[in-house]
């Protein structure tokens, strides 16, 4: 279907939580240039699946996940420290993967609409702004594979549009994005849907 080696291969994933089978024998491949949307009711295992794919859950499920590189995973928790400023938060978030560059961080914060908020303590920001600090990482990361858990939560309408554009660009540049969301995506590129719990792929 798509060219290039898959960035992520999931084979025969099954997960049981609290005596309930959330999904079973889920298999798919995320290739460069593909956008995947994971859909399903609340409690159908979307977050658990993304955590397994990210490598945060390593036990308690069946099946195998193979990744070619470290993914960029943004979960429900924003990882933003109230005592640090957005600039400091972001500098710390990317410290593991790239060298510190004040200019890049400033432009990323400006891209998510936080120009002028770089140096205020994060606890004075709203939930949506915390999420924006978190999403600024998408502008800074070199990771080809993005795993986004409900990235549109708490974001206003312009923010959603900007994020959709960013995802489109990333996919067009040969990256791959898996995201969980309840809303239909307004993007130009084709969206492959993975429905939980059935595992049906469209």
């Amino acid at each position: 279907m798509s060219a290039g080696t898959p960035l992520l291969v999931a084979s025969l994933l099954s997960l049981e939580r609290g005596g309930r089978q959330l999904f079973s024998e889920l298999s798919f491949e995320a290739c460069p240039g593909e956008l995947w949307q994971i859909v399903g009711d609340n409690g159908s295992g979307k977050t658990s699946l993304l955590r397994i794919l990210a490598g945060l859950c390593r036990y308690g499920f069946d099946g195998r996940v193979a990744r070619t590189s470290l993914p960029l995973y943004l979960g429900h928790l924003s990882a933003v420290k109230g005592l640090l400023t957005p600039r400091e938060n972001l500098a710390w978030h990317i410290a593991g993967e790239s060298e510190y560059s004040a200019a890049r961080i400033e432009s990323a914060l400006a891209s998510v609409g936080l120009y002028g908020y770089e140096d205020v303590p994060s606890h004075t920001l709203s939930a949506g702004q915390h999420r924006r600090v978190n999403l600024a990482r998408l502008y800074l990361s070199d990771a080809p594979l993005w795993l986004l858990d409900e990235p549109f939560t708490a974001i206003d309408r312009q923010g959603v549009a900007a994020l959709e554009t960013l995802i489109e660009t990333h996919v067009a540049e040969g990256g791959s994005v898996l995201l969980s969301s309840h809303q239909p995506l307004a993007v130009a590129c084709p969206v492959r849907q993975l429905a939980l719990p059935s595992g049906a792929i469209q």
Binding site: L56, L70, G75, S78, A79, L83, A95, G96, S98, E99
Partner: protein, 228 residues
């Protein structure tokens, strides 16, 4: 792919932890205040006779230092777990062994190191012989570093629990006993004019062993806690 050096990353992590501690000074002040208040209670409980206080001083100072460290251990990974920073740390390409060493180092700097530096004042409150004060500072500095490493194992294991405080004490206190035994014995020896070198050497050996092994346990415990 170019990445930042591991040393640079760990220094950045250490600096972040220290900045967080300085912006919430209560966390730095609490163990020191606890130390001061408990030491002030001893003359009330044991009687104010200076000879008697001097007799109990090494053990008393060590027990208080140990409890002050234990009190603060619980919080080392707590806030990072709650806000998701820990997930990101585990996903970062840097070795977790060195990252947790940076966490532990930061914890020691804001608790054990300060306690060690402040301990001469508390030693005078309990009439510890002046000859033993140098040994006390050295022993507390070495010993609390071991306590921080051990305490972080407990903190990493219980970080997923809402109330891990009591469990940490149960898990970690038995491991604290060797440090307490050799630490207070060293100060006791110095107070009675005997050489304290061997005791400090044993504390140093424990610290080396702790630096080599504890981060492995902390890293594994964090992975389990995040997995749950």
């Amino acid at each position: 792919m170019k990445g930042p050096s591991t040393t640079g990353f760990c220094l950045r992590l250490l600096r972040r932890q220290l900045v967080l501690a300085i912006r919430r000074p209560v966390e730095i002040g609490n163990p020191l205040l606890f130390f001061a208040v408990v030491v002030a209670l001893f003359p009330l409980g044991l009687g104010p006779a200076p000879e008697r206080l001097a007799e109990f001083a090494p053990g008393a100072l060590w027990i208080v230092a140990l409890l002050a460290t234990l009190l603060t251990c619980d919080g080392v990974f707590r806030s990072d777990y709650d806000d998701g920073s820990l997930e990101q740390l585990l996903l970062s390409p840097q070795p977790l062994y060195l990252s947790v060493l940076a966490y532990t180092g930061a914890h020691w700097l804001v608790t054990g190191c300060l306690l060690g530096l402040a301990s001469p004042v508390f030693a005078l409150m309990l009439n510890l012989p002046a000859a033993a004060i140098g040994t006390l500072v050295a022993a507390v500095l070495l010993g609390t570093a071991v306590l921080s490493l051990l305490g972080c194992i407990g903190a990493a294991l219980t970080v997923g629990l809402k109330r891990g405080g009591m469990l940490i004490s149960l898990l970690i206190l038995p491991l604290y006993t060797p440090v307490l035994i050799f630490g207070s014995a060293g100060v006791q020896a110095a107070a009675s004019g005997l050489p304290a070198g061997p005791y400090l050497a044993i504390l140093g050996a424990m610290l080396s062993l702790g630096i080599a092994l504890a981060p492995l346990a902390i890293a594994a415990a964090l992975r389990i806690s995040i997995d749950a």
